[in-house]
Symmetry: C2
DNA sequence: CTGAAAGCGCTTACAG
DNA sequence: CTGAAAGCGCTTACAG
């Protein structure tokens, strides 16, 4: 009964001490002052478990990602934690390793901790795993789950916007033959990116040849391999757009290994804008997907949902718009390439 | 009073329900079975705040790092969280942004949460910031703080081991003129790395010329710049060892930009073994510093300290030994370079 | 093997 | 403006 020690020493009741700690205004300045002095003297630190039990909240958010080693996430986690800290909320961080069974376990752990909200920032979500939170009326916000957005908060990414800027940029530079390097088609985020790219090309009036679509696995080697294949195509494209930065890095290396100059001989555009993009030489032109914005949006939705109640609380949804960052890996196609393309096309 | 609902429905007391949940053996299998069924039916989830308040522990560890965006940390966090989860412990994650005032705030937040242990994995630690935890008898484990290891757990890195392997590797390849690219000298971990390199060179009987020491800022550009300077030195070295991978990446790019081939014309060795090391072309030979081991050691020390008590509990200390990973950026010096070196030296 | 009851450290109507 | 007291949901000696 630690607050009691403070109370005794200050000659007040525990109620008053509690009021002072929680900034309740109805305490005389003199009393308050005295209590604060005693708190400092005794180095008193409130017991959050007791407080949480009493008030029924934990001032704790759960943050679930699939894989912290994916360089996409650190920035997101960092900012989410920062925002939470600024409101006196701590965050319990867990990861699923892309395993939906583990997702259910993570959710259960968080529910047991009585968290006030859960951000599930994994690209794939299966609903039963998060059901427990819903049943407990714990606000949940998801990432890019348009199918579920009627029941949960949702942060979604407008991939087409980014690709539109990318394609327009290339078009203005004079590129007409553009290749695309996709990821494994079983990931919904990958599919969404590819469709967005196709829509963007259509909109810009640029036709993408069948043979200019490549499939990778989101890792570096597949970028290198795709570049090798690309250089062997009939109608060699003058630019490559990829589904993520990591493959763009591989493509860049593949081009250099083949003796090409980037961007003079081939332009490359990545997606994500990972730290690695600026570590390359030339630095990568890429589509920036703001983890900062995702974190901010997820956090604010959680706070918003927390203050509504009832099961039918209208869920908020909001859209993150990636945007093109022009750096060193894009330039007008060299005449040599343009000529070759004209001949071939 | 949720456990009461379960108790009523199962026709037992809350004590019995509690025993079943906590696996106390003294419950008849029949009763236990019935209680478990009711728990499942009701989807009962225990309230951890109440439990923690009662038992005086939180089954929560705090993990503090300086900067999650530093690619060194994600792996560490990941594994720490994994270990904790396997023991039913959750982890509250916070970061200081290299600010020691924020460290104190982080520690206070964790103490309020009643965490059972704190891992402070920042490279610089000032003692007053963590004093609060000590006073509360909360186990604390630090990273590379030999001065404080009498009072806290400490995970320390034996930098010399890694550099010794690196220097020996280069020596065996035939290198005699080796350069070193250090970081800013006000960071203790940087100093420690540099001293370890010097000791390693001495031990291998390799003398490092004064002009072959370069100072960077741990970022890519400074690697490129250092490479440019290196190529202008009188007695051009045939190999470069750096204080971190990021600068090694810059050096690699600088060499390629200058028209050199790596490793034929110059060998490069990094430090850390970040994911980026294998994304390069050639892949970087580097000294692997295992975040996995650091996490495991920090976690196990915390658990160990937790089970001792009293202020004079003997603190454990243990050493992580980095090791050389030979990849593509090291090879014997080309004869052209050797010749030039002989003439110059 | 099981239950009644105290108590962990707070907060908050309620009363004054 | 302040205090006495109930109660948040558990766990655990203690008694049977």
């Amino acid at each position: 009964m630690d607050i009691l020690q403070v109370a005794k020493r200050a000659g007040v009741s525990t109620a008053t001490v509690s009021r002072v700690i929680n900034g309740s205004s109805k305490v005389r300045e003199e009393t308050s002052e005295r209590v604060r002095r005693v708190i400092a003297e005794l180095n008193y630190v409130p017991n959050t478990s007791a407080r949480n039990l009493r008030i029924g909240r934990s001032e704790l958010f759960g943050l679930i990602v699939s894989d912290i080693k994916n360089p996409f996430f650190p920035d997101l986690i960092d900012h989410f934690e920062e925002l939470a800290a600024s409101q006196g909320i701590d965050v319990i961080f867990t990861h699923t390793n892309y395993d939906s069974h583990r997702l259910a376990t993570c959710v259960r752990r968080l529910v047991e901790r009585n968290v006030d909200g859960i951000a599930v920032m994994t690209s794939e979500v299966d609903e039963p795993a998060i059901e427990l939170a819903t049943r407990r009326r714990i606000p949940v916000v998801l990432l890019n789950q348009p199918l579920l957005k009627s029941k949960y908060g949702d942060v979604s990414v407008d991939y087409s916007r980014g690709y539109r800027e990318a394609v327009e940029h290339l078009k203005q530079l004079g590129h007409r033959a553009i290749a695309y390097l996709a990821g494994p088609s079983d990931l919904s985020s990958v599919q969404r990116r590819q469709r967005a790219f196709q829509a963007a090309a259509r909109k810009s009036g640029i036709q993408i040849a069948e043979e200019h679509f490549f499939a990778g696995n989101m890792r570096v080697e597949s970028g290198r391999e795709a570049m090798e294949k690309l250089l062997r195509t009939e109608s060699r494209p003058t630019a490559l757009v990829t589904a993520n930065d990591v493959m763009a890095v591989g493509a860049l290396q593949g081009a250099i290994a083949a003796g090409l100059r980037v961007p003079e001989d081939i332009s490359i555009i990545g997606f994500d804008d990972l730290p690695i993009a600026t570590m390359m030489h030339p630095e990568l032109t890429t589509i920036h997907l703001s983890r900062h914005e995702i974190a901010a949006e997820a956090f604010s939705q959680l706070v918003h949902l927390l203050h509504k109640d009832g099961p039918a609380a209208p869920r908020r949804e909001s859209t993150i718009r990636p945007r093109l960052i022009i750096r060193g890996s894009t330039a007008p196609p060299s005449s040599q390439f343009k000529r070759r393309h004209r001949t071939a096309g």
